[in-house]
Amino acid sequence: MPVDDRPGDGDGNEATTGTPLISGTNVVKEYQTGGQTIRALKRIDFRIDEADSVAIVGPSGSGKSTLLNLLGLLDVPTSGEIRLRKQDVATLSDSERNRERKQTIGFVFQSYYLIPTLTALENVEMPRMLDRTPKKTRDRATELLERVGLSDRLDHAPDELSGGQKQRVAIARSLINDPELVLADEPTGNLDRDTGDQILDLFEELRAEEGVAVVMVTHDEYVAEAADRVVNLVDGTLRAPDTATRADGGHRDRE
């Protein structure tokens, strides 16, 4: 669970026993920008378990993207330790991290980042295109697109799809390698409320049915309500949320 591991957190949602999927201890990330060192993350601890549903909420510049990149093994911390299960990611080579990322983590982005020259189906297959298992990949991709309700859009190009449909394709893509964790960066940022709700429902279904941990980064409190747990990222530090936003125990109250 991505909160400070301070004793007496009072969150009531303390990590359960067992090996966390991914955890961080004293994680610091600094950037060099124009001769200045910017400390984007200031000694944070976090923990994400299997089938977790977490929202990281923070204003822009709070270090959300930085944290997302670290969780996604796209970057390594300046100091501190991130463990994927029991493995310290700092000890992994570039290609090992690449492989772990491919096997364990799926990504969903605000701007979808579908490849415009590929069809919906091919976009879903894309992460596995270089694996020589075309039949298996195609079957799984078709299944996933059916799963996200796009069985009639398999051969459509991204620009023939609505925003919500694009995000569904992106979600299907994030699941092609059967990951244990899906990282979603403002997944509803470009969508209207209704479509956004559908996407959030989809995440919830996937989590419940496939046991995938979902971590959403957002600045939208409404989106955060969809998660089981919410943490605030402010100025490079993680904080337990105000009780006000947690009044409902972290479950979104809709309809």
Binding site: N98, L121, M126, P127, L130, R138, D155, D185
Partner: protein, 408 residues
Amino acid sequence: MEGIVTGNSDDRDRSSMSRRRRIAALVPTVLLARRNVSRATARSTLAVVAVVIGVVAVGAIGTGGEAFKQNQVAAYEGFGGTATVHPVVYPEAEDPNRNFSDAEVARMRRAAAGATVIPVVQPFGSLVRTPAGETVVTAQVKGIEDPGTFYETANGSVPENWRRSVIVGSRIAADNDIEPGDQITVVVEDELEGTFPVAAVLRPQGFADPLSADQSVFVPVSRFDDATYDEVIVRVDPSAGSVAGAATAIETEFNSRRRTVSVQQVQQQREQFEQSFETVNQFLIGVGAISLLVAGVTIANTLLMSVIEREGEIGVLRAVGYTRGAVVRMLVAEATILGIIGGVIGVPIALGIGAVINVFLVGDPLAFTRAGLQYVGIGCLFGITTALVAGVYPAWKAANKRPAEAFD
């Protein structure tokens, strides 16, 4: 851009897709690259055009140059067994206009046994007038025993005992409408002046002819009182022997103590020509190759722009587990595809231009030489290689961009 079949029938889709799918699985990188190339059509087209220009430049200069060489070398045909002998004059010599005497010509005949030795008089201060009375300034008057031993006639014939008529070279005849039977006036200062009937017009000989027969009016050598010769032509039937032997024999005979004659074989001139031509042609091809380098720069530029535009997308590729190598391969494949398309379009154009040049210079559109075709191949290969190399830097740059940065 070609999309995958968008039909609704699952069965039809499956069969057509599985085949495509299999092909795509073999070269997924190429599939991605090919789709990407077709994305920015205008930009890709421009890059391809640059490659086409380069390939055509190298190919057409190569084949065209070869055609020109064939055309030029053809002029040397028939003179393969010919050498010319000139007197060597030293500045301190008492007679700066030294000529060959009858005795010296006889010595040459003895030395070069078996060769035809033809002494030629090339007087200064000669003049030729047409039947209409016009002076032909370009005509050279030459005294020779029997041009029939050396040249074939196009019109008329050389008389058995040639004493009273003249024989006219092809260009002089053509430019001045001179035909056998016409009367032309020949004046040689201090030597002869008179009007002679034209007995024959010679066939065109080309520029390699050591006597420049096309520009000449031949007069029987007996018309010159005091026969000394400016030049001697030595000829050996190439099927019977080599003129080199005769040339060496004459040089040995005359140049043993001091170099008094200079012998030049037409064959050597031909080799010199071919050599210097080769140099010029390679220089021109080098210039053509520069246009391919420019094409390379265009491709690098195209790809750099494309990579910047697709930063997020490439970041996603890296995020979903594509290695740096895979990203580099994909982008290099894109550049190479541009090069290959350029080559595929450029080669036929280069061959087409080559064929047109062949028609004009050699008379046969398919008269490609091996070297000419090689130049087309080299142009094409160089084009593709340039494209590939041009792709490396943008690809490397894109692949080394931290994927993290793509999402900020």
